[in-house]
Structure formats: C-alpha cells, structure tokens
Amino acid sequence: MSKPEGEEQKGAWSSRSIGSGWQHRIFYLLIRLGGRRAAYLLLYFVVLYYVLLRPDQRRKSEYYLRRRFPGDGPMGRLAKSYRMSLQLGKVLVDRAVVGILGPEEVTVDLGGQEELLSLLGEGKGLVLMTAHVGCWQVAMSALGFLSVPVSLLMQREEGDLDRHYFEHAGLDSPYRIIDPRGFLGGTMEMLGVLKKGEVLSVMGDRMLGDDHNGVAVTFLGSPILIPYSAFKLASATGAPIAVLLSWKSGPRSYRLKLFRVIRVAPDLGRRAEAFAPYAQEFSAVLEEFTRDHPFQFFNFYDMWQTSPPRAGAGSAPNTKGA
C-alpha cells in the first residue's frame, strides 16, 4: 500500500546536515588556521563533488531551479545548481566564521530599523517573518537594537551537525527557542510572547514538524503550502508581521531588509482560506527575493509537491531552520 502523499513528502525530505562530523570539523579547522578564504577554497571543490557526482544532492536544488529558470537546459541547470549550492556553503562558512573568529568578520547593513522600532512601539508584539534565504541567523544577530526579548520558533533534528554562530563561540543563545513539538505546537508560548509585547521570529516558508496548518499559495507559478499559524497569531493579537530577509551582499557583508509589513485583520475565524491573502503577500515577497537573489534561496526540496489542499489545509515536509 502506498503512503499518503504528505507522508511520502515527509520521507523524501531530511533536514540532517550533509557530510559527517569530521568533515564539518575540517572546515572549522581551516577557518581557525587560514580564515574564511581557506574554507572557501575547500568549499569550491566540495560543492563541485556534490553537484557533479551526487545526483541525489543535485536534484534537491533542481526542484527550485526548474521553476525559477524554466528555459534552462541540463547544462544551465547544472551550472546554476553549483552556484546555488556554493552560496549555501558560503553562508554556512560565514556563520562559522562569525562564531569562531568573531562578529567583526562580517558586516550587516540593516534597512528598516526605524520602522521596526515603530512597529514594536505599537505595543502588540511583533512577528518577524523570515525564510530560508540568505542567512537568517544574521537577521537574528542584528536585532539587539530592539531591546526586547526575541523568541524563535525552531525545530532541531537529531543528526544536525551545523552549529549556530553562538555555539561556535560557546555563548548562550541570544534568543529563546520555542520548539514546535511542545505543548500545542508551541502556540501558547508564541501567543504569550506577543501578548507581552515581545518579538516572535518565525520562518514563513516551511511547515515544521507535524504542523498540518498549511495554506496553499502560488509561488513561482504553482501552488505550495506554507504555514499560516503566524498569520493566525497576528490576527488574534493585532501584532504586525514584518517580513525581514537577508542576503549575502559581498565577501564579508550581508544586507537585511524589511521587505513588507503585513497586517492581518482580526476575527478571521478558523478557516485556512481566510489567511490565504496574507500568506500570498508573503509568497510575493519570496518571489521578489528570488528575482533579485536567485541563488540565495535555500529550500532544497520539492516545495511544489503538495497534497491537494483540503479546505485550504494540508501536509508538508518535516523541516527545520537551515
């Protein structure tokens, strides 16, 4: 008997890190000995190996690339798969560099700081919606100016080898982590954060764990499912949603931009469809991002393989923050 479609999709996706622990440690050693450039140098060859000789890994980038560059042939896709994988590798190296060598190794230019402060000043809490693009940890590390606690909805899987920048530095997490596998999927914790006027950060582009609260939106021409829990929380509390995305803008620099503020109407009820227009706004921002930064979109799975939405809801893969 075949598995339900959503279950197959879950099975097809693993958030576990590529490479083993010792392979990661080689990169960390290179960073300590030779800095970022030494790690990048190895990275070029490692990515080449995965893209040329591991079709299973290459395929993970092609789901997106076929949608983003529909006119490409196999060679074009191969080249773009290399660029996309290389960008992800560089982001991961940069993250380790910040943790190992210090935050001064990377500069972060934040656009929209005043507006973010103004949104927070409304006193209803603030939902920071980001995505698996650029380096979301950069976004998180640049939020100190908000002067309120930041909580992050994040699920880490067994087998995750990548370390966060603060873990490299042996520091405590600068943000509180809410586990979606907790009581009621962490929704009560998230609600509590917003009611206290604090910041809740969520990744808006992937379903987490066993979350079945997805809504269909159009992304790059076809439907995908994205979670609508954050939109529901914003509706219940009146908190504005700030869509904040980052990208690598230079060898040592990142930019962080407030792309859009989404305000969700109150009293939208239970139906997923009620939240679809807001989720679509977010999807439009993601499309804008992929136009400008096509190789910094890091969803390496078939986002478009969705179960037919049942009344706007459905299943999606078991994922975490990259």
Binding site: L184, G186, T187, M188, L191, G192, K196, S229, L233, R270
Partner: protein, 84 residues
C-alpha cells in the same frame, strides 16, 4: 447559563465542532487531540473567545496549560479569574 454551558455552546458554534451538540460534550473530555479533536491553532481561537466572551485573559503557557485541558478546567480557570 453556567460558564461550562456557555463554553460548550461557544465551542460548538465558534469552533465549528461538527456533528456535536453542547450537551454531548463531557466536562472532563480533553479539548485537544483524542477528545474534542481541537488542534493547536484552535487553542489560539479559544484564548481569543475566552477573552471576548468572559473578559478573561490567558496570558501565557503557565496559565494556559492547566486551563486548556478540558471544559471543566477552563471553566474553573474563568471562575477563579472572575472572582478576583
């Protein structure tokens, strides 16, 4: 109408519990999962409903976790808050 009765009516009407009448909801039936089958986002809706209809705020998980077990526990929580 008691708080429990009002809660049951709200659950059926506002959370669209299909094929269920307020009278059929047991006081101690779990609200989530196997019981009434509500999910995590229904919890958000329930918190909003309680505030709207009873003027009682469930501020965080410390309050929400014990209160959101069943109709009986939620009614007890509301009664306690209203008595203060």
């Amino acid at each position: 109408m008691t708080i429990k009765e009002k809660l049951k009516k709200l659950l059926v009407e506002e959370l669209n519990l299909e094929d269920m009448t307020p009278e059929e909801i047991l006081d101690d039936a779990p609200l989530f999962g196997e019981g009434l089958g509500l999910d995590s986002l229904d919890a958000v809706e329930l918190v909003v409903l309680v505030q709207k209809h009873f003027g009682v705020e469930i501020k965080d998980m410390d309050e929400g976790r014990p209160a959101l077990q069943s109709v009986a526990s939620l009614a007890a929580f509301i009664e306690e808050k209203l008595a203060k």
